[in-house]
Symmetry: C2
Subunit: 470 residues, 2 copies
């Protein structure tokens, strides 16, 4: 509010020198005190966000009603219809969808059964993109390995067997390689199927879904996750010299690509409507649980942030746009389509991209990828979030859906939260609304709303990568 | 060791008066300083317990090899054969089994499926003792109630429906009533089946098994647990006015009672072999997970405590006996049989009963039920456990398997541990060996061994309820 007064004065001045002085003063002031300038509206945003319990109820209704929303599923498309309708009926400037074609993998019936040394049902999830087994399943001896290197060293024992990668969870980035590339490595060693110790940091016999890939020219073999408990059990059997036999049955199919949509809504900027702060999450999920944490929560936090900016009648200079990207989980076609279907100029007019895909737990701040000048500016915005301790800006961050924009030079950031239990629930039946709570969610809303509003309204545009402040 | 020297001296004295003086002195000393008297052997016991990693490996082998051990199952009886054999081959004074007849309930195939407002598989466990549904299952509208009182208030809506008790976990004792008596209350209101929100303090879509009962003269209806997540989901559907339909299929059967056995081993007392300190846990479990925490861990801790007393060549005056009771989970026939199959005199010769059935997590001490004099004495033994912080004796404690002894006046105690996650895993697929750890387990061994050894060796016998020290 203070800044707007300054600007009005400066623009309205008829005395050239005075205008120049004012202008220079305002510029210096803006650069040094984004924090001070926006303290008042930021306070109102936080207050409004914390006072509103309706958004979390809406999120709960949404995940309860539509359930999990895998790309290609009816549930996803019906959920998108509902969201689009709600956005159109809401008090935003516009709402639309953007079509992309997405992979369409269907799990089908599946099971894994330990046959020896004793019979036991193994809770499991086939991995997204896997081929099926024959109808009777694949019954084979199991070779347990601890890593890709371990498989290399025992490659002569893998032929004709089911390879189990019993790799403990270290970081997601490291451990997920067994999910993504395990079937390729196992097939190269002659395995007839591959299993992984599920990618999760805690387990109550909880398997986790997720995408996997094949490699051109390498035999495709079925690929599934069993639980941490059972992977360790099989390891112990092997360590004791006991022969392990498993029957794996999967009926998975990959159908032709199916149409899906990004869902988009915005408040148009008053001065630079062509310049866009985009924020959002992904609306698709795996086909288990409710996809509440991953990532309906991120979508609804962004949407609510936009709605509350409108409720407060704040009128940012630039456009603030919410996108619920589709197909983040197994194709990223939504994020790519969002980037590729607009002109290079329109991409360059994105001044900031904000993604929430780490769960709407208690927010800490943002991980930011951009120039030093831009980092300094968003850090000043971060100061406004001190009252709710969610303004810490760290270097490096973003997300899969905004990655195409970031590759084109758009500054990007990912909401950072207390992720202690994120990989407990991630891609599992346990990703349900009860794992989230309204208080944390409202803080996420406030955090995203303050960041988006100030970035969309401050006098200077965030510089692009390698670009000076302008 | 100090006490033994005193005793040897006293017994060996030929001068009557000196002997009397010594005797009186030793008596006073023993009463006041069990702690001081036993500090040395207690230290050796703790040291030996913490140095031995083999017992936890044995426990791991056991639960991996035999898996869950429901009463009436082959797995339970084979596990008992193995234990008995190991005990006979071990360096203990004797090992035997004691037959009892146990209930024989078999789960069979089962499922629960939400049909409307949307289709969803509901992870579930039929409750132990439940009847089956017809082969096609029972399809019915669901009435969600929060408590028995809530059911009373909506009794006119329950007829012909499936009643779901969505009672949050408060204490086990309170919440378990819905598992134990839910089918009775629901049937009285005219329900065709009953479901409960599973009895657990945390859930990752984790249903928990457990015993349930019917009442003479009240219609028997199928009774099963669904997860916390799904119970809350159904509650929300109902709160939003949506009709809920579920199909419940259960193929459970109750077969004729089957023979099972308590497994018993002991070190005979040097002075009062007829006097017994008994300690143990239960060897049966529910038919899910590994029954590692509940209660193979307790059995193996007691067994290892006995073995290490032998390894240290300690020779307690009284007998120390380990019992792995059978059928604690759904009948308590092992604990009852242990009491009922011996003479009243033999029961009275039990000086202390120690049960571990709270999981072999980090031990804190014991909950003790007995006279004030006895409490004082076991508290002095507890002081010996200060080095591993597991000697806090609190009032009240015991367990289902030693309850018959305690009813006959035998002082009883239950090992108290850090039970933070006990009801996460209890009776679920998640009760597996990885939830325990060797360090905690070894401390449990030390704690039980010190208590059992000193109680079996100290000059005065623990007084019974209402009995003075003698």
């Amino acid at each position: 509010m203070q800044l707007i007064s300054f600007r009005t004065l400066a623009l309205g001045a008829t005395m050239g020198i005075l205008a120049l002085i004012w202008s220079g003063f305002a510029s210096a002031r803006a650069q040094q005190s984004i924090t001070e300038t926006y303290r008042e509206p930021a306070g109102r945003i936080i207050e409004e966000a914390l006072a509103n319990d309706q958004a979390f109820e809406n999120l709960t209704y949404f995940v309860d009603t539509f359930g999990p929303r895998l790309s290609g599923s009816e549930a996803l498309e019906r959920s998108i219809d509902w969201l689009h309708q709600q956005m159109k009926e809401g008090d935003l400037d516009s709402a639309w969808t953007q079509q992309v074609m997405v992979p369409h993998w269907v799990r089908g019936e599946e099971s894994a059964t330990l046959l020896s040394p004793r019979r036991k049902y193994l809770p499991m999830l086939g991995l997204g993109g896997s081929i099926a087994t024959p109808p009777e399943g694949i019954t084979g001896e199991v070779l347990v390995v601890k890593s890709f290197e371990d498989l290399q060293q025992h490659a002569d024992e893998a032929r004709g067997k089911i390879v189990l990668f019993n790799a403990p969870f270290t970081s997601y980035g490291e451990t997920v390689q067994y999910r993504v590339r395990g079937a390729i490595a196992a097939a190269k060693a002659g395995a007839v199927a591959s299993l992984i110790r599920t990618v999760g940091s805690y387990s109550m016999q909880t398997p986790h879904a997720g995408v996997m890939y094949y490699e051109e020219g390498v035999q495709k073999i079925p690929h599934a996750a069993i639980t941490v408990e059972d992977a360790r059990l099989l390891q112990r059997f092997q360590d004791r010299g006991e022969a392990i036999t498993v029957n794996l049955k999967m009926n998975a199919r990959t159908l032709p690509d199916a149409p899906s949509r990004n869902v988009i809504a915005e408040i148009r900027g008053t001065e630079h409507p062509e310049q866009v702060v985009v924020m959002g999450g992904h609306i698709d999920s795996w086909d288990v649980g409710q996809g509440a944490m991953d990532d309906a929560g991120g979508c609804f936090a962004a949407w609510e942030a936009l709605k509350l900016i409108r409720r407060l009648n704040l009128k940012p200079k630039r456009t603030i746009r919410v996108v619920m990207w589709t197909n983040e989980e197994n194709g990223s076609r939504g994020g790519e389509g969002y980037h590729d279907q607009i002109s290079a100029e329109a991409v360059q007019n994105h001044v900031l991209a904000i993604e929430s895909d780490g769960g709407v737990f208690k927010p800490k701040g943002f991980g930011f990828s951009g120039s030093d000048d831009a980092f300094e500016m968003v850090s000043q915005i971060g100061n406004l979030l001190e009252p709710i301790e969610s303004g810490e800006i760290t270097r490096g961050g973003g997300g899969a859906d905004i990655a195409p924009l970031m590759k084109s030079g758009v500054p990007g950031m990912g909401l950072r939260v207390d992720g202690t239990r994120y990989f407990w629930f991630h891609h599992s039946e346990a990703d349900t609304i009860d794992k989230l709570n309204n208080d944390d969610f409202k803080r996420c809303v406030a955090t995203m709303a303050v960041m988006a509003y100030v970035a969309a309204d401050m006098p200077k545009t965030l510089p692009k990568m390698g670009e000076a402040t302008h």
